[in-house]
């Protein structure tokens, strides 16, 4: 449950920098909650009222200002996500970057990712992003099938997506590409096609997401109404394994449940989440963690604007995790990574039912032990909730 924001908790206007923020390296996530249109599967916090963008950019700049005044520090990774940060114009990006650079130092060699809708990719934008220091573009391709793209409510065509990836690569960005599997209209042919296309483009990084329908979206409603339009559980699982196998065959490392990277190109920002390292969050619904503190901003965009415009904190809640909670979470996230977790930590932190289920996973080849570490196999990841549920 979300705690209500308390005055004084989280961000304050005090200029005194707090020690923990300075001591450690840090990442920063910045949420841009703007979309031209909503995709049918998407439940991320975002609005299509683009006329809000001016207020939003000011508010975000304002939040960066207060946050930085108190906790400015060196950033090892920077991630502009959304929503659609690729919508932002030159002046808007400049405002945000100015506020950011005023209080934060972007470390040399930092990873700076910007999420982009392929439709927004254009030559001059690519140049602008490069000038601003963006090093990595994450492109929401989702599928190379026009029919599927339509059903997903994507703005772009497969042709445009193909061009966007190639152009981004040509401009020297590290490129990541999002694919979705288990989506309506997907058959063996469409899966094959995705594989062929990705391997032709050969981006540095690929995220392969099994469609999630746990939040109320138009697509989730469709799934209840006509489940037959969707590939069944087995077909979706097959697609996930098939794409994974092809990527691994082409030299990608399957380093997290949904993520693949060519050597040296794992998403450094995302790894910070998975390894429990500090990340600040800016913008509506953005969440972050510093040390044992976790916090999140309000999800309601209007409320976010009002708070910042009134000079108060956008924090929805903040709480301190116990050592045990952190440990358990580290296990949960660690088992989502190829590197797995140490057996010592499992023995120390996991309840007996978990250990019992882990034995079953090992016996069924869903988990593997190597030295003193255990990890899940791709088939194990597919059913990982059956194990991780026993952790919480």
């Amino acid at each position: 449950m979300r705690k209500s924001a308390r005055a004084g908790s989280g961000v304050s206007n005090s200029a005194a920098p707090t020690a923990p923020y300075r001591r450690h390296s840090c990442g920063l996530y910045l949420h841009v909650p703007l979309c031209v249109s909503r995709c049918s599967y998407c439940a991320f916090v975002s609005t299509t009222e683009l006329e809000q963008r001016g207020r939003l950019v000011s508010a975000i700049a304002g939040e960066l200002d207060t946050l930085g005044r108190r906790a400015g520090r060196e950033l090892r990774t920077l991630y502009f996500g959304g929503g659609t940060p690729s919508l932002l114009g030159a002046a808007e990006l400049a405002t945000i970057m100015a506020a950011l650079r005023r209080w934060f130092v972007v470390a040399p060699g930092a990873e700076f990712t910007l999420e982009a809708n392929p439709e927004d990719v254009a030559e001059e934008r690519l140049q602008r992003w490069a000038r601003l220091g963006v090093t990595r573009l994450s492109l929401g391709v989702q599928s190379f099938d026009e029919n599927i793209l339509r059903r997903l409510g994507r703005r772009h065509s497969a042709v445009k997506a193909r061009w966007a990836v190639a152009a981004a690569l040509a401009h020297g960005f590290t490129v990541s590409l999002d694919l979705m599997v288990g989506v309506p209209g997907e058959g063996a042919k469409q899966v094959e096609q995705s594989i062929t296309e990705v391997l032709q483009l050969l981006p540095h990084h690929v995220s392969v997401y099994l469609l999630e329908l746990d939040k109320p979206t138009p697509l989730a409603a469709l799934a209840t109404r006509c489940p037959d339009t969707f590939p069944d559980e087995d077909a979706a699982a097959r697609a996930y394994l098939q794409v994974g196998k092809a990527l691994v065959g082409a030299g990608y490392h399957h380093y997290e449940v949904s993520n693949f990277a060519r050597p040296g190109f794992s998403a450094r920002h995302n790894l910070r989440y998975w390894l429990g390292r500090s990340v600040l969050g800016v913008g509506p619904a953005a969440a972050g963690q510093v040390g044992r503190q976790r916090f999140a901003n309000v999800e309601d965009i209007q409320l976010y604007l009002e708070r910042l415009e009134a000079g108060s904190s956008p924090r929805a809640w903040a709480r301190t995790l116990s050592e045990h909670e952190l440990g358990v979470e580290r296990l949960m996230l660690g088992l989502r990574l190829a590197q797995g977790v140490g057996e010592g930590a499992v023995q120390r932190l996991a309840p007996p039912e978990f250990c019992e289920q882990l034995q079953a996973f090992l016996a069924l080849g869903l988990a593997r032990r190597r030295g003193r570490r255990v990890r899940l196999t791709p088939r194990g990841w597919l059913v990982s909730s059956e194990l991780l549920a026993y952790l919480v």
Binding site: Y29, G182, Y209, L210, L211, E212, D214, E233, D234, A236, A237, R238, Y240, V257, S258, N270, Y273, W274, V279, G281, A285, A286, A287, G288, Q289, R294, A296, E329, M332, L333, R336, A360, F361, L364, L366, W381, L382, V383, S384, S385, E386, L388, A389, Y390, L391, V392
Partner: protein
């Protein structure tokens, strides 16, 4: 009072025909109740009973009535349990009476419950006074119902009283008829004491309270007494009558009815039907005593295994005031620690279950009910089996006997076809089929109790759109061609799912059960094979494919907290699973077996 001025009677009626209303009227007419007390229908006392409109425990009330002849009479109204499950208790209550009012709703006619109890009363030699109730209703047809009573019950109904219990019309005539037609008690007031215990209840402050009908001699305070069947000796602490408020008296004489406290602390110390006599009495007990024997058994398990002790305490408390209820600890490899419980019948089981959940706040898992079986082994040993999982291997069994019932069903003839098909499916054997006129039919069938315990009532209701009425009496054990059907999950028989079925039906039932389990068991990490088997021979097989996908695809920053919640919810779901071998079986699966209809 002089025996010639005592009348002991009960009211026999189908549910809703007006028994309680008439009882209230009788109390009112004799001044036993103020109108404020009339608010409650006084003879029913437990909340649950009132809701279900049934009376589980017999109560009694003593009425003083000055009759037309100018004499004062003591009328003892003995309330009887209305439901078939308590037929032994009914018979003991009837044994305390010399007469009965047979109340029939004149707008409805004779129903199964009327009949079954009327037969019992006739068999016990009671004088039956037919009463046609609800004549105020426009659709009442007293003449037709009068004829029906003569035809079906087989008694003279020419003097049947037409009344309206609701308005009070004819109630005076009922009182006069009781005086005129119910024979006075015939016991010997000078003989040594013999009193019939026809009910026992537990009072948390006073201990066991018995209801008795003094047959011979007299019962007085301080008397040293003995229960002849149990041999237990006691001293009479207090005795009295209900008016309906309890009023202590110094003695109860032959023919009288009242309550007794004799310092007994446990209900188990008293058996309904026992004879209360002087401690030194050497003569014979009153006839008709039998131990109330549970016929239907089921496993009761706490949903949350940590509630085991609470369940045991609740069962102990419950058995304090329900002498027919039995329980003993039982373990099931599938359901863990729980209790095997014995009930008089299905309704009794439901009542107990509901009380446990309502009064004690327990969440229970109940296995499919089964009947008691008698086994004769090849070695010539007789054993009674209350749990299908404990049936000896087929090779060791010479003969299995199962309990039968004699069922009475009354129905509009429109539904006869459906009902005949139902009783045939249930291995019924026709004893009697009679057209009653007015488009009604009476059926008597002999049926295995096992075929009735599952969902017979529900099916009967649905094939007759609720118009058929049903009642039954236990009719002894008979041998049957029965086999144990095991449900085997990944090679392990699940004890709580074993059933005993007729060999001819084993195949279809096995297939249906296996299919049902396939539907209820969620996919697991590995393939699960569900088989129905007789002995080592599988007769049905279903495969549950392994689970392929249960994963959180996206897990980033702010989401981690939320995803954790998702996992917590999954874990909550897992709590309702019982692990058998390596397979997680949901509790619904154990209940689904109840719903399989073949």
């Amino acid at each position: 009072m002089d025996q010639r001025h005592i009348r002991n009677f009960c009211i026999i009626a189908h549910i809703d025909h007006g028994k309680s209303t008439l009882a209230d009227r009788l109390l009112e007419r004799t001044g036993a109740l103020s109108s404020r007390e009339m608010m409650e229908q006084v003879l029913d006392s437990m909340e649950l009973e009132r809701e279900r409109g049934i009376t589980i425990k017999a109560h009694t009330v003593t009425l003083r009535y000055r009759a037309a002849d100018g004499e004062e009479y003591l009328l003892n109204l003995i309330d009887t349990p209305g439901h078939v499950d308590f037929s032994y208790e009914v018979s003991r209550s009837l044994a305390a009476c010399e007469g009965a009012l047979l109340v029939v709703d004149a707008s409805q006619g004779v129903e199964a419950q009327t009949l079954a109890n009327a037969y019992l009363a006739v068999a016990q030699g009671l004088e039956l006074i037919p009463v046609l109730n609800k004549i105020d209703l426009p659709q009442a047809d007293p003449e037709r119902v009068r004829q029906q009573i003569e035809q079906v019950v087989g008694i003279d109904a020419s003097h049947a009283l037409a009344i309206s219990a609701k308005s009070g019309v004819g109630v005076e005539a009922v009182l006069e008829a009781l005086v005129a037609h119910v024979p006075p008690p015939a016991g010997d007031p000078h003989a040594p004491l013999r009193a019939l215990v026809f009910d026992a209840a537990y009072d948390p402050f006073r201990g066991v309270r018995c209801l008795v009908r003094v047959v011979d001699g007299r019962l007085f305070r301080g008397q040293a007494v003995r229960f002849l069947a149990s041999g237990r000796e006691a001293a009479v602490d207090e005795l009295g009558v209900f008016t309906p408020r309890p009023v202590a008296v110094e003695q109860l004489a032959a023919g009288e009815v009242g309550y007794v406290f004799a310092g007994l602390k446990e209900l188990a110390h008293v058996q309904v039907g026992d004879t209360l006599a002087e401690a030194s009495f050497l003569g014979p007990a009153l006839p008709g005593f039998a131990e109330a024997k549970p016929m239907v058994f089921a496993g009761l398990y706490p949903v949350d295994s940590s509630a085991y002790d609470a369940l045991r305490e609740a069962l102990e408390k419950l058995s304090l005031n329900d002498s027919a209820f039995r329980f003993q600890p039982d373990t099931s490899q599938a359901l863990g620690f729980g209790f095997r419980c014995g009930f008089l019948g299905l309704l009794h089981m439901e009542v107990v279950q509901e009380r446990l959940e309502r009064e004690f706040g327990l969440q229970l898992l109940t296995t499919a009910p089964n009947v008691a079986y008698r086994i004769l082994t090849k070695r010539g040993e007789l054993q009674e089996v209350h749990n299908p999982a404990q049936l000896p291997p087929e090779g060791m069994i010479e003969r299995i006997e199962e309990p039968f019932i004699l069922a009475t069903i009354l129905t509009p003839d429109t539904y006869l076809g459906g009902i005949l098909q139902l009783v045939q499916e249930r291995r019924g054997e026709q004893v009697r089929l009679e057209y009653l006129g007015g488009g009604r039919v009476m059926l008597e069938y002999r049926l295995p109790l096992a075929e009735v315990v599952l969902d017979f009532y529900d099916r009967l209701k649905s094939v007759s759109r609720g118009y058929a009425s049903f009642d039954y009496h236990f009719d002894g054990f008979r041998p049957g061609n029965l086999v144990r059907l095991d449900l085997v999950v990944n090679g392990e028989p699940v004890d709580a799912l074993a059933v005993i079925v007729h060999r001819d039906r084993a195949y279809t039932r096995g297939r249906a059960l296996a299919r049902k389990l396939k539907e209820t068991i969620p996919r697991q990490l590995f393939e699960v094979v569900v088989q129905a088997a007789i002995g080592s021979r599988a007769i049905a097989r279903e495969v549950i494919k392994p689970l392929r996908k249960n994963v959180i695809a996206k897990c980033y920053g702010g989401d981690i907290t939320r995803k954790r919640k998702l996992l917590e919810r999954q874990k909550e779901g897992k709590k309702r699973l019982k692990r058998v071998g390596r397979v997680d079986i949901p509790q619904e699966a154990f209940l689904a077996v109840l719903k399989v209809d073949v």
